[in-house]
């Protein structure tokens, strides 16, 4: 049968749902796109997006970028290196403290440890509320408590990660194999033994992977909490942007990029070493 012999009418009759879709199905997608676009236009108007302002800002941005070249720390390189060290310290400490506190709480939020919905619900909502508040807001709160400086940053990262870890850990615990726990129970182990010998060996590698990943992503968060005064390189960055020292700004941004890339690399290696390539792929 050559292509000319194919009767399109016959094909149309045979596959009605491809050729004659109901109008509602055909209109749904364009309607959604139009609606999305309408909200976009409304948003642009409401948020004062005038083209003149946009292009004026763009040319300003062009000037700023030109003034950033070449990146130059001036005489403050030692200060910046110290600030970067502070940032890395904040990320490492904050994540570790968060993980230590989140582990016991995540047990309370896991379905297979605490079967009662009523007991689990408040723990989960508590973790959710902590997560719903951005790290920067926690940083502001802690600055009120312990004063300006990197210590407030550590506490801010620890609290906001506590919420994230609690959720992630409890999910890891829920997906663990129950058979080993049952084995411990069958041999007469107590509830604590079940967790220690049946559960933890299964979930620790997963948790270690997540913690490493968070140290990596917290390096990014730690670079910015300085903007509100909680220590680290963000403090320097915000200051230099405010006084329009663009060459220093670009140097600081480069430093952040290099540091994040280095941490990415190291923690990637460690993650593979701990959980193995197979688990990742």
């Amino acid at each position: 049968m050559t292509p000319q012999d194919v009767d399109t009418r016959e094909i149309r009759a045979r596959y009605p749902d491809v050729f004659d879709r109901p109008a509602s199905a055909r209109l749904a997608m364009p309607a959604m796109i139009v609606a999305a676009f309408a909200i976009l236009i409304y948003g642009l108007v409401d948020l004062d997006f005038s083209p003149s302002r946009f292009f004026a800002g763009l040319s300003q941005l062009g000037w700023i970028s030109l003034m950033m070249i070449p990146p130059d720390p001036g005489s403050s390189l030692p200060v910046y290196l110290k600030a970067l060290g502070e940032t890395l310290s904040i990320a490492l400490l904050g994540t570790t403290v968060a993980a230590l506190f989140a582990l016991p709480v995540s047990l309370l939020a896991a379905r297979n440890i605490v079967p009662s919905n009523i007991l689990r619900f408040p723990v989960r909502r508590f973790l959710d509320s902590i997560r719903g508040v951005d790290t920067l807001i926690w940083a502001l709160v802690w600055i009120n408590v312990v004063g300006l400086g990197p210590f407030a940053g550590v506490l801010a990262i620890a609290v906001s990660d506590f919420g994230a870890f609690g959720k992630l850990f409890s999910e890891a615990i829920e997906s663990a194999d129950q058979k080993q726990v049952e084995g411990i129970r069958a041999s007469g182990g107590s509830a604590l033994h079940e967790i220690r010998f049946g559960l933890l060996p299964q979930v620790l590698p997963v948790i270690a992977g997540q913690v490493l990943y968070f140290i990596e992503s917290n390096t990014r968060s730690a670079t910015i909490i300085g903007i509100v005064g909680a220590g680290g390189i963000g403090l320097q960055l915000a200051e230099q942007i405010r006084v329009l020292e663009w060459q220093k700004v670009s140097f600081l941004i480069l430093m952040i990029l290099v540091a994040v890339a280095a941490i990415d690399f190291i923690s990637g290696k460690l993650r593979f070493a701990i959980i193995g390539r197979r688990a990742v792929a």
């Binding site: 909200i39 312990v146 990197p150 210590f151 509100v228 915000a238 941004i253």
Partner: protein
Amino acid sequence: MTVAVSILPEQQLAALNAAYRQAVARRRWRLLLGAVIFAAALALAAVGAEVNLRTLFTYFGNFVSYFDRILTLDSGQRVWTDVGEWLWGWRKWLKMLGETLLISYVGTLIGATLAFILNFFAADNTSPAPWLRFVVRRLLEFARTVPGIVFALVFVIAFGLGPMAGVLAIAIHSTGALGKLFSEIVENADMKPVEGIRSTGASWLSCMRFAVVPQVTAGYASYALLRFEINVREASVMGFVGAGGIGQELVVAIRKFYYSDVSAILLTIIVTVFIIDITTGWLRGRLFGMEART
């Protein structure tokens, strides 16, 4: 059922036992070494971050009492005893929240559109030229690694105070993050339809439009929704640097010690984030549900 357990002679057993103990000991040593290195890193970090446990314990009461204070009205009563007084500024706050949502919506949509355009150049299997792929990838990496709020700081100076800077910062950051995720979806796409379309003599653009896009849109939408969720949180702090949204109100309330306002604004932010999380979760479920049904 009888099971024969062969018991090895003493000498053989001793050798095996020794090997086993050695293996276990080696593992323990490695673990111990790792723990020591980790502890040393922590100690170093504690010095670097000026951790002072005495400060923490002295001021920990402050932390508790801070929550006590933000949950107390000026009249000295608990906030929930007089909700009208507590949420006195709800009209203004809802308007700012609306602005926050709009900032994240517009930012996410612009970012997702840019990411949609760029990701075909960044993916291994669809990029028309290796040098283009390299350039686009570095560009996306840069957009994603520089934190959104740093962009916002710079944009506030270039575009002036206001939500415009926040929108652009979120858009750029989303472009970087989504561009990477999108290109990963494209790399997992089936290439046979592309070959089929290319065999008809179609251009690169038509290959993308008719062979790749239909495969990947559901994944794109899912990631874009997830990004929207994250961006709502991010937009809630954009106001800290003057880039619009509820953050502006919050930072004023915190800095000026309007205690009950802090808790009221935090409450509205948390509730909004909850609602957005639940709604986008439901939408994502429907999107993937649609996938499963067809």
